[in-house]
């Protein structure tokens, strides 16, 4: 790690991207050279509906500072309905996380199509910015995993 990077808080961010739209959108951002911070690491899932709340909590447990889920736009799901289920699940989960005092903004859902490299990059930049402003996740981490 360079000294420069040490100075500021570098969050750990997990992005779950559906294979068909958002992962392709991330690829397009890449081939269009639309940058976003290296703090974001993408996990490819077939569909946003594959994202189990357990995965999200697990990420926080292990020290993630933000989790974002990206899927196809409503109506465009490769599997017709997956993102609708994901939307309801995440709506409820995020609301509960807010309710137990986890800062709003640590979790986010964004619909990014395969054609939206610009949106993908912009979303990630925005999200990283938000997480940086929120600081380290201390409310949902397992202290044993601290470095």
């Amino acid at each position: 790690m360079s000294i420069k990077e040490n100075e500021e808080f570098r969050p750990k961010i997990v992005a779950f991207c559906c294979n068909w739209c958002s992962y392709a959108g991330a690829d397009l951002a890449g081939s269009s050279r639309l940058g976003y911070p290296a703090d974001v690491k993408i996990i490819r899932v077939p569909c946003s509906c594959r994202v189990n709340p357990m995965f999200i909590l697990r990420a926080f447990e292990k020290g993630a500072d933000g989790v974002i889920i990206c899927g196809c736009h409503p109506g465009d799901c490769h599997y017709s309905t997956g993102n609708y289920y994901a939307r309801r699940r995440m709506t409820l989960l995020f609301s509960l996380l807010d309710y137990v005092g986890v800062e709003k903004g640590r979790t986010r859902v964004e619909w990014v199509s395969a054609a939206e490299g610009v949106k993908f990059s912009a979303t990630m930049n925005e999200f990283v910015e938000k997480i940086r402003s929120l600081g380290k996740n201390v409310r949902l981490e397992d202290l044993r995993c601290r470095n």
Binding site: K62, G63, D142, R144, C145, N147
Partner: protein, 344 residues
């Protein structure tokens, strides 16, 4: 015999906690449990029973055994340090102290559990008599005198005064530490209190519970009794009874991946759980009836058989109060009585 005004207790606690940890009953979100004393802890000495027994002071619900630290493909092992600091447990009741004696049988016998032993060696117990025993108590059944608890220090809360009697060397040392706050007292009030408590104990509904039929060579008879088939049915297979119990000592050993290595820790387990003693081939107790039977057979038959007749129930009554299905060891004992002491 010494005494200290109730109003001075905070000063006493502060003094004790100056250079050692002090555990005592603390109210957190309306529930009283043993916890470390802090300046803003809501100490509650009036509550007869803490929700959990204080056994976790000596045998924590979970504790690290050692850590494996990973560096590339190299792994090194870092043992967990043993307790080296002295500490005081204030306000344990006679039943809880018996509970610790039961744990001693398990953990201090060969092979000695070094984690437990270190805690026992460094802990000083201030026992408190039970001012107003309740209907769920049945310590008398196990020969425990809650009016005169024996530990490093015995204490009685009588009116606005706490009476203090050192018993052991550790107790004397603690008394010396607290000297400035203690004043001499005579034993008359304490004796009166003991008499009062004992008379209440006599009236307690469970005090006449008979353990007849549980001693001697009854293992197979009890084990094969059809009573279990009926008794277990309401059991939800939760671990409430186990986790509030002062004598349950089973634990599981698990690994936690911290990302930088592995922490091997042990944590309380419950014989009520379906994965208790789970092994590669499955589980040696496959039904809830068997698990239910195990718990009570252990308390009333197996443990005494191996420990000179010492039951591993102390009659604290926590399971009586907390079981979600209103099951408890008293109902078990009574059910066998009803069945008519069929031990031939």
């Amino acid at each position: 015999m010494y005494k200290i005004a109730k109003a001075n207790l905070p000063a006493l606690f502060r003094l004790i906690a100056e250079n050692q940890e002090l555990y005592l009953p603390v109210n957190t979100a309306d529930q009283v449990n043993f916890a470390a004393w802090t300046e803003d802890a809501q100490v509650d000495l009036d509550k007869l029973k803490t929700v959990k027994s204080p056994k976790d002071v000596f045998f924590p619900q979970s504790e690290n055994l050692y850590s494996c630290v990973k560096d590339g493909k190299k792994i090194s092992i870092e043992p967990e340090a043993l307790k080296e600091q002295n500490f005081v447990v204030f306000g344990m009741k006679a039943c809880d102290i018996r509970g610790v004696e039961v744990l001693d049988k398990v953990f201090l016998a060969e092979p000695v559990d070094s984690f437990y032993k270190a805690r026992r060696d460094h802990g000083t117990i201030v026992a408190m008599a039970c001012h107003e025993p309740e209907e769920s108590c049945f310590c008398k059944v196990f020969g425990i005198d809650c009016a005169d608890p024996a530990a490093d220090v015995a204490a009685w809360m009588i009116g606005d005064e706490l009476f203090w009697k050192p018993i052991t060397e550790k107790g004397e040392a603690l008394t010396k530490l607290a000297e400035s706050l203690l004043e001499n007292a005579d034993e008359a009030k304490v004796e009166a209190e003991k008499t009062a408590i004992r008379s209440i104990v006599e009236q307690l509904p469970y005090s006449d519970l008979s353990l007849e039929g549980w001693n001697g060579d009854v293992l197979m008879d009890k084990f094969n009794s059809p009573v279990w088939e009926e008794l277990y049915k309401p059991c939800l297979a939760c671990g409430t009874c186990t986790f509030v119990c002062p004598t349950c000592q089973c634990y599981d050993i698990k690994d936690y991946d911290t990302g930088h290595g592995i922490q091997r820790y042990r944590c309380w387990d419950s014989c009520m759980y379906s994965d208790f003693t789970m092994m590669a081939h499955g589980n040696n107790r496959t039904s809830q009836m068997q698990r239910f039977r195990q718990r009570f057979m252990h308390k009333l038959v197996y443990f005494p058989a191996n420990n000179g007749g010492m039951y591993s129930c102390v009659g604290c009554g926590r399971c009586v109060e907390k079981c979600p299905a209103s099951l408890n060891i008293v109902k078990v004992v009574k059910a066998f009585q009803k069945q008519g002491g069929s031990n031939s």
